[in-house]
């Protein structure tokens, strides 16, 4: 059969057993088993146990379906997730399209700012948005004074939808931007040649071509929103599934299995969402790799179009960065209560944070970096096994790792305690409370992001590039080191940055595992501060520090990668 690039079927069934591959697959499987499967199973197994006989039962799931509150929570979660995807799309598509297809001043800045909302420190987003958009937030206070109206941005499910859409829309932005960058420009040009332009060009050609990226991003948003418990709880929305699970699991004195039943439902729904996304995009990846560089020609905008485009971009950024604007104000505010802006400003909160808790910052840097590195290593190993080997069960590893996306952080936290608390380190400390377990938990929780980025990075490397190396005498291992790793470095870095950035503000699993303040990361410190009236300013300051650190590290890694890439070229 004749090979077409990209469709080469690679047989790895060598006469000798591919020991190295089995070693890699075995290590990955062991990691997932130890730090994902076993801890989660030990927790959720309760859902299948009959409280009376102790045997297997599905009666708890029947209870779930028969319970109005749970069913209402279920549909609320579905509704909120779907609406968050819809609004996330509204935010993401214009940004992605305008910056990738038109000559636009500040396109890079916009792409960067567009990712910032992902770095939303816990508590901070909800608190800041309430202060800005709540019933008595800045906007409504001003509207009330001026026009005597009050817009319920943050009431009930609306607030959750708005905040989640703002928080997670970068997933759509990133994926669609990547898709758009990979579409052969001839496809759009031929449509223009045939008389298509403007919105029709976008809706009939560009968007369908970018569909795989969109579906990937949208499904990620759906799952994250479906599984997120912190945002609804902070906005006092309790009748959604994830908050119900959390409240059930952490309520003291109660021993019913429903919290775990809900966890199982969360996991199953997330799996289904991922499966639908995979099915929807199967065989529809139209991205083509451009030959010999050149890049896409960007179109010029004129007159009114230009003004509208800048207006739209500005509005979206203003809205999506609102939580961070609110956070800055809060971190500088003396008192901010029932007024459009704070009463006064001070730098004291930053001083307090730096004086009291610099260890939070260092811990966060350390944990998030290690977690990012681990998740990228595991993620690229899985991507490699799936795409480059025929090892049986490789897809299972992929599904398992993606399944981490659907595991509530609380479940993982409790699972680690249950599984590893009895294991003692030589120092006498329990393994579960050793700080490295926080790193592992973060790595497992961020593995899906890293895996997807590594998979995408590897997909862009033609297998022929590796075969060429093997043909010239490089063994598998050396081929990976000298050809594959440098070529997928971009994807791996993207995975690292996403994992690092989101891990640095993660709290849910951390909360269960932090053993002492000196080992605690920044998100935990933020939680501690935010529990007292006087701690609100310092908490916000700590949140801002997190955002700045993550932003700087992201920028730095991009800069490093650029330098690496251009380093070899001599004029």
């Amino acid at each position: 059969m004749t090979a077409i690039p990209g469709q080469i079927v690679i047989t790895t069934r060598r006469q000798s057993v591919p020991l190295g591959q089995y070693l890699v697959a075995g290590s990955v499987a062991l990691f997932l088993l130890l730090f994902l499967v076993i801890p989660v199973v030990t927790v959720v197994i309760v859902a299948f146990v009959d409280p009376q006989s102790g045997g297997f039962t599905l009666v708890n799931f029947a209870d779930f379906v028969r319970n109005d509150l749970f069913m209402r929570s279920f549909w609320n979660s579905v509704y909120v997730s779907a609406m968050a995807v819809a609004w996330g799309t509204v935010f993401a598509l214009p940004l992605a399209y305008i910056t990738s297809r038109f000559q636009f001043r500040g396109a890079v800045l916009i792409q960067t700012l567009g990712v910032i909302p992902l770095i939303m420190p816990p508590f901070a987003g909800a608190v800041a948005m309430q202060l800005l958009f709540g019933r008595n937030g800045s906007v409504n206070l001003l509207l009330g004074d001026g026009f005597d109206i009050n817009i319920p941005f943050m009431e009930g499910l609306n607030g959750v939808i708005l905040l989640q859409a703002i928080h997670y829309f970068p997933f759509i932005l990133l994926n669609v931007s990547a898709s758009l960058a990979n579409i052969d420009r001839a496809m759009e040009e031929s449509a223009q040649n045939l008389g298509s332009s403007g919105f029709r060009l976008f809706s009939k050609i560009v968007f369908p071509l970018a569909m795989p990226g969109y579906v990937a991003g949208a499904s990620l948003v759906f799952i994250k929103v479906f599984d997120d418990l912190a945002t609804p709880l902070l906005l006092n929305v309790k009748d959604m599934l994830a908050p119900q699970a959390y409240l059930r699991i952490t309520s003291i004195g109660l021993a019913d299995p429903m919290g775990y039943v809900i966890s199982v439902v969360l996991i199953v729904v997330s799996m289904i969402a991922m499966w639908i996304a995979t099915m929807a995009t199967r065989g529809r990846d139209y991205a083509t790799v451009q030959r010999g560089g050149g890049g896409l020609a960007k179109r010029e905008m004129k007159g009114a179009d230009k003004i509208i485009a800048y207006g739209v971009v500005f509005l979206i950024l203003a809205l999506t960065l609102a939580p961070h604007v609110g956070l800055i104000l809060l971190s500088l505010a003396t008192v901010w209560s029932f007024s459009p802006v704070p009463d006064g400003y001070t730098m004291a909160h930053y001083g307090k944070v730096f004086a009291e808790s610099p260890q939070f910052i260092w811990n966060t840097l350390l944990y998030a970096t290690l977690a990012g590195v681990i998740s990228v290593i595991i993620g690229s190993a899985i991507a490699w096994l799936v795409q480059r080997t025929r090892i049986p069960g490789r897809m299972l590893l992929d599904y398992l790792a993606m399944g981490a996306l659907a595991m509530p952080g609380v479940v993982i936290g409790i699972g680690y305690l249950r599984t590893y608390y009895g294991v003692t380190l030589p120092s006498g400390q329990s393994l579960a409370t050793f700080w490295f377990m926080i790193v592992i938990a973060l790595a497992v929780r961020r593995l899906p992001y890293a895996l997807r980025a590594c998979t995408a990075g590897l997909q862009q490397v033609s297998p022929q590039l590796e075969e060429a190396a093997e043909n010239l005498g490089a063994t598998k291992a050396r081929t990976i080191r000298k050809i594959l790793l440098p070529l997928m470095a971009g994807g791996m870095l993207a995975g690292f940055v996403t994992a690092f950035a989101t891990a640095s503000v993660e709290l849910s699993a951390t909360m269960m595992l932090v053993q002492n303040t000196s080992d605690a990361p920044l998100a935990y410190g933020l939680y501690v501060y935010m529990q007292s009236p006087a701690g609100r300013g310092p908490g916000a300051a700590l949140g801002m520090i997190a955002v700045v650190i993550v932003g700087l590290c992201t920028y730095l890694s991009h800069w490093l990668l650029d330098r690496e890439r251009s380093g070899g070229v001599k004029p």
């Binding site: 319970n67 004195g253 008192v335 303040t517 501690v528 009236p533 006087a534």
Partner: protein
């Protein structure tokens, strides 16, 4: 400045106190680990003072909310690394005590009485000890009330008034041991039926029922909600942080103790005992007076050193209920009360609020033009709303208790989720029926 002085005083007091008994007591040293729900504002001064009083010790503070803290201690009992549990909610300590996760101790605490009003200060079995008290009350944001032209509240009953509709916030008792105690106090004080009627009337005005204790003062501080049912120190510390908030103890309030207990099998028992004794000593009690902490000492003598106007529950500054609080009743129906509150109120808040609002409107119209038939309908509606799916006896029955104790199966008990569904649909039905009555009443007074 006051904190520095207090710390110095504490150190001085302790060095005197320990000088005499040092020969007998095991000298505490090393790391003392405490799991607490208290904020940094509270723990930092204690850490400083304790470490100064016992050189060679470090107080390791693990800040967790009460529920997560209990979970943590339960999940990690196989290899316990925690010395102390320090939190407000007495129920959390009850749970720990029931699971044999606490160890007894006889603190050296002269001057601390056995009772504060109707409540025991210490656990009768000596497993945990009241180390501070707090009174329940109403906190409000002055800017908010001024802007919305709301009168200052004074009594619990005020919160049920039409004017406060959608302006009040409370924590659910299932997530806050202190709220639970308040709810239980109302139920014991007014009786099961009447108590629930009061609670439902109040709750019909709630803007929301939150699951975080700090959620209430947080929302009031920022002005998102006007009034909140809170523990006093939330308001005092908010005032200390210059938020425009005020606080009042209603004429009959409840007192909730803050407790401390030593975890069974504590890795540093000497340190743990020293910390308990330190908290209960005069020096430890005095720290409570710091503005950022603002809790009420359990040692009446300490109030002599308090600033002007500091509420002294021993001298009647907080009106305490005149009945004897029955711990055993509270204990038996603990889970039932939590779940009832959640199913009837927290998760059915929308219909409850809607019918309450409609009743307020009809009442306003009746005030202008009376109509006896409408009043009858309103009374019927009110009766429907306050109907309970279970009696006080049933709530404390073995059958209901078994539903909430998954691990001790009892064949006849319904599963918790089944019971919840029953109660929830009961409430929904009654609220709907009440809404129809109110609508009929509204037709009579156009």
């Amino acid at each position: 400045m006051i904190d520095r002085r207090l710390v110095l005083a504490a150190v001085a007091a302790l060095s005197v106190a320990t000088a005499g008994s040092a020969a007998f007591a095991q000298v505490p040293s090393g790391k003392v680990t405490v799991v607490t729900s208290f904020s940094k504002d509270v723990t930092d001064p204690y850490k400083k003072a304790f470490e100064a009083a016992f050189p060679g010790t470090t107080l390791e503070v693990q800040n967790r909310n009460t529920n997560a803290g209990v979970r943590f201690v339960q999940e990690t009992k196989a290899n316990n690394q925690v010395d102390l549990f320090w939190a407000s909610a007495p129920d959390a300590f009850e749970v720990l005590k029931r699971s044999s996760l606490l160890q007894a101790h006889k603190p050296v605490a002269p001057g601390i009485p056995a009772k504060l009003g109707p409540y025991n200060i210490n656990d009768p079995d000596g497993m945990f000890f009241g180390c501070a008290a707090s009174g329940y009350g109403i906190m409000w944001n002055e800017r908010y009330t001024r802007a919305n032209r709301l009168p200052d509240p004074k009594e619990w009953a005020d919160l049920g008034k039409a004017v406060y509709h959608d302006h009040v916030m409370i924590t659910t008792p299932s997530r806050s041991g202190t709220t639970h105690l308040t709810v239980e106090t109302i139920l014991q004080g007014e009786g099961w039926e009447k108590g629930w009627a009061t609670l439902k009337a109040m709750s019909g005005n709630m803007r929301s029922v939150t699951d975080r204790s700090f959620g209430v003062p947080d929302a009031v501080n920022s002005g998102q909600v006007g009034l909140g049912v809170v523990i006093d120190f939330f308001a005092f510390s908010a005032r200390a942080a210059n938020f425009p908030v005020k606080f009042v103890y209603p004429s009959v309030s409840t007192i909730v103790p803050a407790n401390v207990g030593i975890i069974a099998n504590a890795p540093n028992p000497a340190g743990a005992r020293a910390f308990v004794d330190f908290i209960l000593s005069d020096a430890g009690q005095e720290l409570l007076l710091m503005p950022a902490i603002s809790r009420l000492p359990v040692n009446p003598a300490i109030y002599a050193k308090a600033p002007e106007g500091y509420p002294n529950p021993f001298k009647g500054a907080i009106g305490l209920p005149g009945f004897q609080f029955d711990v055993s009743i509270s204990e038996r129906r603990y889970a039932a009360v939590d779940v009832l509150f959640d199913q009837l109120i927290t998760f059915n808040l929308e219909p409850l609020k809607a019918v309450t609002k409609a009743m307020h409107e009809v009442e306003t119209r009746l005030a202008k033009r009376d109509n006896p038939a409408a009043r009858v309908l309103l009374a019927e509606a009110r009766a429907l709303i306050s109907t309970m799916p279970v009696t006080a006896a049933q709530a404390a029955s073995d059958e209901v208790r078994a539903s909430f104790q998954g691990s001790t199966p009892q064949a006849k008990a319904p599963r918790q989720a089944e019971l919840e569904q029953q109660w929830s649909s009961f409430a929904k039905e009654k609220y709907a029926a009440a809404a129809t009555k109110v609508a009929d009443a509204a037709k009579l007074v156009p």
